[in-house]
């Protein structure tokens, strides 16, 4: 909420600099988020005095004045007729600036030079009166800057939801009083005398939603223009004058924080009922919107119609206007949840609803009436007032809390004297009574009865006033099991490793476009948002790679770069899990002076990266299978398994699925779920063989449909534990049906030197099985 410093100063004398006050407020929980001068657009306007008035030599309706700023005398042409010699007026000198970008320049008016301007209220940007010059009180000193008297500091405080009591100038004054240890002045009120009976009675049907309804009937009132003061203060709150009655209701709202509603009593048929609307009932609120209501809307109704959405907005049918003669003023309390419901349902933001949905002091309603009547009396005339009508079905006892000194110590870690504790609480409006054993009985004031209900709430009050910064630091001894999160550690190990391999880690949004995912052929479960911000981000992404493709697209401007990306992210494909995705794009090496035309990559580049990565994290027994996926090029894709468990896929992205026509080289991707890749436990040492390793090559011809994995599995099975490695060394296409393959086998034993005889025996077994099971034949 925004506050006017002038307004605050009506109720408390502040003798510290503004910045210091703001700092104190911030450090007690009411953060001052910004401040500004009210009259920023005005410059170089001073308090002037008219010395002499003559007729303009060339124009009947203009006058020619001598005006002084206390030092010099200026000749000024003026059209207004309300000025007299010796009047004190706002005087804009040559070079002055006025609201709306107006600059005062030396000018000739009907052949006579004018050295400045006398200003009306409207020209100064506050007040509506433009009929005459703004004649000032004699108290203002000639020559002083106009802003010295009329400017204000408007500051904004972020009021947290627990402090609705601060949503008014009086509320903040109370808080400042506690912070500065100073007394405050109370707003003046009018004691009500019953001089006319209210023709309107009030009945509360919805007692839960309306704990209290006070009201007063005022007869024979004159609506009119607001005074300079009321106009000025509602201007500080950013409001324009809308006639005296509305202005006073608004003034009161910002003054004491209680929204009242003024009905034109003559527009009310019969009596008033506070009730829920019937489904389908209609009304037109003062913002001119026609509304069809539901049975959840709390309304104020008379015998024939709805006259207000309770606590949110009034209706046009009962609005006050300039002809209003008799007034019915509502001063009620509405329960926050009902107000919020209605406000949310219709999307109405009003200052009244803002306060009711946070909670208004239930004890304030009679006071509010007396205050409003006082303001009316100061600003206009009326003939009679009724009694204060007051129904209070929701009356509740104020909270009483027992506060233990030891608990203050436990939470705040400070040893505060009992007197200091009671001083702090009293300054905030709590009634305090010391009990035995260092316990204190605390009665919560009604304006804090929404948020202070427990002992811990009082401890907070003490803490924030005492200052959390004055609490001594105590390094805690951290106890409990030290649990290591190996999965978290694994992810960081992976990040480090892959960045060392030249991969960039990305972080992309987990929300993605459902249509895009479905176009890629996704058939799994989808988690879609019921309220997405836009359709580009309407589901929780089931894959990461489409996001990497978009990152690739975004980085194509960097020509001649190899792009290697990875990302670790949560995905949803029926359940939420964490996955890792890789993308490889570019050539085998970067273009350089030795190699101007590096080879393009193929799928085995990415497979090599994956295998090195798997090796690093201790996953050496993963299996690749040739498998097709809708977004991958046929014959260039596969699934990755750990035993029977499917982990993910690898492949070349089908060109039609690439997000940019400027992608001219193949893009390889892989994506795997991460958790099964976690290897727990500490690696134990395996002795290094002391015996020689022996190499043997096999060249055999196989049908093309025989997979390398089948051949290797068979070799491995027959090679026994002494076969350490099998590497495919050559692939030679014999014809369109057969390939000649060369494998290099490395034999090594942990326990002895393998002699020729032993090796030949194993080779014989291997070749025999390949011939028998896979119809291979030795290449001559």
């Amino acid at each position: 909420m925004e506050y006017s410093l002038k307004w605050i100063q009506k109720y408390i004398d502040i003798d510290i600099p503004e910045r210091e006050l703001f700092e104190k407020l911030s450090m007690s929980g009411s953060e001052v988020e910004g401040y500004k001068e009210l009259l920023t657009e005005i410059e170089n306007v001073c308090i002037g005095k008219i010395l002499k008035i003559e007729k303009h030599p060339n124009a009947d309706k203009l006058q020619y004045c001598d005006v002084t700023d206390g030092k010099e005398t200026f000749k000024v042409v003026c059209g207004a007729q309300n000025i007299h010699e010796k009047d004190i007026i706002p005087f804009a000198k040559i070079g002055a600036k006025l609201p709306g970008g107006v600059k005062i320049k030396k000018s000739k008016i009907r052949g006579v030079e004018s050295q400045g301007m006398l200003c009306s209220q409207k020209e100064l940007g506050f007040g509506e009166d433009h009929t005459g010059i703004f004649i000032l009180d004699a108290q203002y000193k000639v020559g002083e800057n106009f802003k010295k008297y009329f400017d204000d500091m408007i500051f904004e405080i972020e009021i947290t939801p627990n402090r609705p009591d601060l949503l008014s100038h009086i509320g903040l004054v109370r808080e400042i009083g506690a912070l500065l240890g100073k007394g405050t002045r109370k707003p003046a009120v009018e004691e009500i005398r019953n001089t006319v009976d209210s023709p309107i009675k009030v009945k509360i049907e919805a007692k839960d939603a309306c704990p209290r309804y006070s009201a007063i009937y005022i007869s024979g009132i004159t609506n009119g223009e607001s005074t300079e003061e009321i106009t000025y203060f509602i201007k500080t709150m950013g409001l324009n004058s809308k006639g005296l009655l509305v202005d006073i209701s608004n003034f009161n709202l910002f003054d004491i924080g209680h929204p009242t509603h003024f009905f034109d009593a003559d527009k009310i048929d019969g009596n008033i009922t506070v009730r829920f609307a019937k489904k389908g009932e209609k009304c037109t609120t003062i913002d001119k919107e026609n509304r069809v209501l539901s049975n959840k809307d709390l309304v104020i109704a008379d015998d024939k119609k709805i006259i207000a959405l309770a606590g949110v907005m009034g209706c046009m049918n009962s609005e006050v206007d300039k002809n209003t003669k008799n007034l019915f003023i509502e001063s009620a309390i509405f329960a926050p949840s009902y107000i919020r419901e209605t406000k949310k349902h219709y999307g109405i933001m009003s200052d009244a609803a803002y306060r009711f949905e946070r909670g208004v002091d239930p004890e304030i309603t009679p006071f509010s009436i007396k205050r409003v009547v006082y303001l009316l009396k100061q600003n206009t005339t009326f003939s009679g007032t009724s009694n204060i009508l007051d129904s209070y079905p929701g009356r509740r006892d104020l909270p009483i809390i027992t506060l233990k000194k030891e608990n203050v110590e436990k939470i705040l870690n400070i040893d505060l004297a009992l007197d200091k504790i009671t001083d702090i609480l009293r300054s905030l409006g709590y009634k305090v009574e010391k009990l035995i054993n260092n316990d204190i009985k605390v009665l919560v004031p009604s304006f804090r009865s929404y948020d202070t209900l427990r002992e811990i709430d009082l401890i907070e009050e003490i803490g924030r006033i005492y200052g959390f910064n004055n609490v001594p630091e105590i390094r805690p001894y951290i106890r409990g099991k030290v649990r290591t999160n190996v999965f978290w550690d694994l992810k960081f190990k992976i990040r480090k490793y892959l960045s060392g391999r030249g991969f960039y880690e990305t972080m992309t949004f987990s929300l993605i476009d459902e249509t895009y995912i479905k176009n890629l052929g996704y058939k799994g479960k989808i988690k879609s948002l019921s309220n997405p911000l836009n359709i580009e981000q309407n589901i929780f992404s089931p894959w990461i790679f489409p996001r990497l493709l978009r990152v690739l697209k975004g980085n194509l401007k960097y020509k001649n770069k190899n792009i290697r990306l990875f990302e670790i992210s949560h995905i949803y494909d029926g359940e939420e899990k964490e996955a890792i995705s890789f993308l490889l794009y570019g050539n085998q090496e970067l273009i350089n002076w030795r190699n101007k035309e590096p080879n393009e990559m193929d799928i085995f580049n990415l497979k090599g990266e994956l295998n090195a990565f798997f090796d690093l994290i201790g996953q050496n027994d993963l299996i690749y299978k040739n498998e097709e996926l809708p977004f991958l090029v046929k014959g260039n894709s596969g699934g990755i398994y750990k035993g029977e468990e499917y982990l993910g896929f690898i492949g070349m992205v089908s060109p039609e699925f690439l997000p940019s026509k400027r992608i001219e080289k193949p893009v390889f991707i892989a994506e795997l779920v991460l958790e099964p890749l976690l290897k727990k436990g500490i690696v134990k040492y395996t002795p290094i063989s002391q015996y020689p390793a022996i190499e043997r090559d096999i060249s055999m011809i196989f049908k093309k449909d025989i997979q390398i994995s089948e051949i290797k599995a068979l070799i491995e099975k027959n090679g026994t534990v002494n076969l350490r490695e099998i590497n495919l060394m050559d692939v030679y296409e014999m014809n369109d049906k057969e390939d000649a393959l060369m494998f290099r086998l490395i034999f090594q034993s942990q326990s002895k030197t393998l002699n020729d005889k032993a090796i030949e025996y194993l080779m014989g077994k291997i070749i025999g099985s390949l011939e028998e099971k896979l119809s291979g034949r030795l290449r001559k």
Binding site: S26, M27, G29, E31, P161, P336, S337, E357, K410, I411, N413, I456, D457, E460, F468, N469, V471, P472, E473, I474, R475, P476, I478, R479, K481, V482, T484, N485, F487, R495, S499, G500, R501, G502, Y504, E505, T506, M507, T508, F509, K527, S528, S530, N531, P532, L533, Q537, F540, G554, Y558, K561, I563, R564, H570, E576, E589, L590, N592, W593, N595
Partner: protein
């Protein structure tokens, strides 16, 4: 054949040698088991006794000399194979590109290390949460604006994207016995449109410690270590009272402006202070809702935006850069 002409033949052969592979052939031709020089030893027996010693010595000399020569040639061939050229070391290298971890994960790691060294455990939680863990158990009233569909992303079935990492606090309290000290990092989501300081997806680190008799002083000491390690030993911090549903008392933590040193500048809006996180003493209601006795236990909690920490420390003025994934941007942060 006499010794001299054998020796000369050998020299000729060596002179005419073309490739490295011929060397063993020549070697065995002269000093191999059946080599010409070796054969001469066999003839020794047929010589008169007095000449034997003398001639034997000569054969030996020639044999050693040839051995030396062959070794010399072998070394020459080995060195030639190195093919050493004159190179200008200022010429460009064959480029190798290094990669990067993401700036936010670098920040995560720095923060994690601070708390890990103090004995905190890291625990992650699901990003798709239920209303109980995200709001209810954290003492958010049903009517709290954060529970609005305006502010949070909901799925069809009352589950939602977590709006903060605090649900992990509840999940831990439900399943672990105090005492414990945990930090919980991860992505969170709110229905904010993207601008220089907002993003509908963002990263948060939550920390909490539950034991007996834990108060504001303990929180302050832990934050002091954090601020010193992450922002520098000379950076001041302060606790400013605030409000959160799940802590009481609640506060926001400001650090002394690292851009102007507290004198006042644009970043700190002339206050000399910059907000970096929220914190507080865990509300007794939160304990009760997750099955911990608030009479016996107390604790503190804090939470911070990882983007904000990274942006402050590394002078990044727009959050969109962080999620833009431009390689030139990512490349600047080496971790």
């Amino acid at each position: 054949m006499d010794l001299n002409s054998i020796y000369n033949d050998a020299l000729d052969d060596l002179k005419n040698i073309k490739n490295k592979g011929d060397l063993p052939l020549i070697k065995s031709k002269y000093i191999g088991r059946k080599g010409k020089v070796t054969e001469l030893f066999k003839e020794l027996t047929s010589l008169p006794k007095e000449e034997r010693k003398d001639f034997g010595q000569k054969i030996n000399e020639v044999q050693n000399k040839l051995k030396e020569l062959f070794e010399e040639h072998e070394e020459k061939f080995r060195l030639n194979a190195f093919n050493i050229k004159l190179n200008d070391i200022t010429r460009d290298a064959y480029p190798i590109e290094s990669g990067r971890t993401h700036i936010l994960n670098q920040t995560y790691e720095d923060i994690y290390n601070v708390f890990k060294s103090m004995g905190f455990t890291v625990v992650e939680g699901p990003e798709i949460e239920d209303e109980f863990h995200n709001f209810e158990a954290l003492n958010f009233p049903k009517s709290h604006p954060a529970r609005d569909t305006q502010d949070s992303f909901f799925f069809d079935d009352k589950s939602l994207l977590r709006t903060h990492t605090s649900p992990v606090q509840i999940r831990i309290m439900e399943s672990w016995e105090p005492p414990f000290a945990v930090i919980s990092p991860g992505k969170c989501y709110r229905r904010d449109t993207i601008d220089a300081s907002h993003s509908f997806m963002f990263n948060q680190i939550e920390g909490f410690l539950v034991d007996e008799d834990i108060g504001v002083g303990h929180l302050k000491a832990i934050l002091d270590i954090f601020v010193q390690k992450i922002f520098g030993e000379d950076v001041k911090f302060r606790l400013r009272p605030h409000f959160f549903p799940f802590t009481e008392p609640s506060m926001e933590i400001d650090i002394g402006c690292i851009f102007c040193g507290g004198k006042g500048c644009n970043v700190c809006k002339n206050t000399g202070w910059i907000e970096i996180m929220g914190a507080g003493i865990i509300d007794p209601n939160v304990f009760t809702l997750s099955g911990i006795d608030p009479e016996k236990h107390s604790g503190f909690a804090f939470g911070m935006g990882v983007e904000r920490i990274a942006m402050l420390r590394q002078n990044i003025n727009d959050m969109r850069l962080i999620y833009g994934n431009d390689l030139e941007f990512l490349k600047q942060f080496r971790g």
